[in-house]
């Protein structure tokens, strides 16, 4: 029974790999920067689940922190790059002057 469960989980890991490769196509050919940022965000979301699946396969709890950190870094970099596309600057410090 545990053999069947492990086989299902490894199949899911393979499908995640295929979808990362498919998203990388859009990251290469995307005409604007916004397309590339969207593809990057999707890859980050897939990587979070890949780390969760790997923690089942290696049977440890220690990888679960890594998925949280990947999620936070992906969100922060997406917000930073999109602010850069919009106005050309990331931080607006002298806004009121």
């Amino acid at each position: 029974m545990s053999f069947i469960i492990l086989a299902i989980i490894k199949t899911a890991l393979v499908i995640y790999g295929i979808s990362i490769v498919v998203v990388l196509l859009r990251m290469i050919i995307g005409p604007t920067t916004a397309d590339r940022v969207i593809a990057f965000d999707a890859i980050g979301a897939i990587l979070v689940s890949v780390v969760g699946v790997l923690s089942i396969i290696y049977d440890t709890f220690s990888y679960l922190e890594a998925s949280l950190i990947i999620a936070i870094l992906s969100f922060l970099s997406t917000v930073g790059i999109s602010r850069f596309i919009e106005g050309g600057r990331v931080f607006e410090s002298k806004r009121d002057r």
């Binding site: 029974m1 545990s2 069947i4 469960i5 299902i8 989980i9 199949t11 899911a12 890991l13 499908i15 995640y16 295929i18 979808s19 990362i20 498919v22 998203v23 196509l25 859009r26 005409p31 604007t32 916004a34 397309d35 940022v37 969207i38 593809a39 965000d41 999707a42 979301a45 897939i46 979070v48 689940s49 969760g52 699946v53 923690s55 089942i56 709890f61 679960l64 922190e65 998925s67 949280l68 999620a71 936070i72 969100f75 997406t78 917000v79 999109s82 602010r83 596309i85 919009e86």
Partner: protein, 165 residues
């Protein structure tokens, strides 16, 4: 072959993980095949959030059943992704709209063009900047409730569509 309760529940968790991976594959195909930036973002945000939620719920149930480990970090990751994924999508799309990327509109294009048409038109940076200026003028006219200028700019945007040429 006799089945425990824990084996049945972990089988359900594994099936949830498989469903999440299939949702991720569908969202990846949508990201590659759709026509403009906004449709692609529609494929990327919703279904990839769904896939991550399914997978992490499966991981949580698996560790809860087989090793009796209540992992708070997985729950935190689910909560964080659920809160931040729409915010990130909204910020990217606002940036793409204000920097003037091409938008597919049904009433402006010919009949019979499909949503998942490949993007095969070379756009220069100049085109995008011009479109961004037009959009800014349209927004200003709309916020001042200036209907004449708004309809005029709508006609201009209609002529700008590349599928009419």
């Amino acid at each position: 072959m006799s089945l425990n309760l824990s084996e049945i529940v972990s089988l359900i968790a594994a099936l949830s993980i498989l469903l999440g991976s299939i949702a991720a594959l569908i969202s990846a195909i949508g990201i590659v095949r759709f026509r403009d930036t906004f449709l692609r973002s529609h494929a990327a945000t919703k279904s990839s959030t769904l896939s991550v939620l399914l997978t992490l719920t499966g991981v949580f149930i698996y560790f809860l059943v087989t090793q009796e480990y209540f992992s708070v970090r997985t729950l935190l990751t689910i909560l964080f992704l659920y809160l931040t994924s729409p915010v990130a999508g909204h910020m990217i799309i606002r940036a793409a709209y204000n920097s003037g990327s091409y938008m597919y509109m049904k009433e402006f294009t010919k009949k019979g063009t499909s949503l998942n048409f490949r993007y095969d038109r070379k756009e220069t940076k100049k085109d995008r900047r011009r479109r961004a200026e037009k959009r800014q003028m349209m927004n200003e006219a709309f916020s001042k409730n200036d209907k004449e200028t708004f309809s005029k700019y709508k006609q201009v945007m209609k002529k700008d569509d590349p599928t009419l040429k």
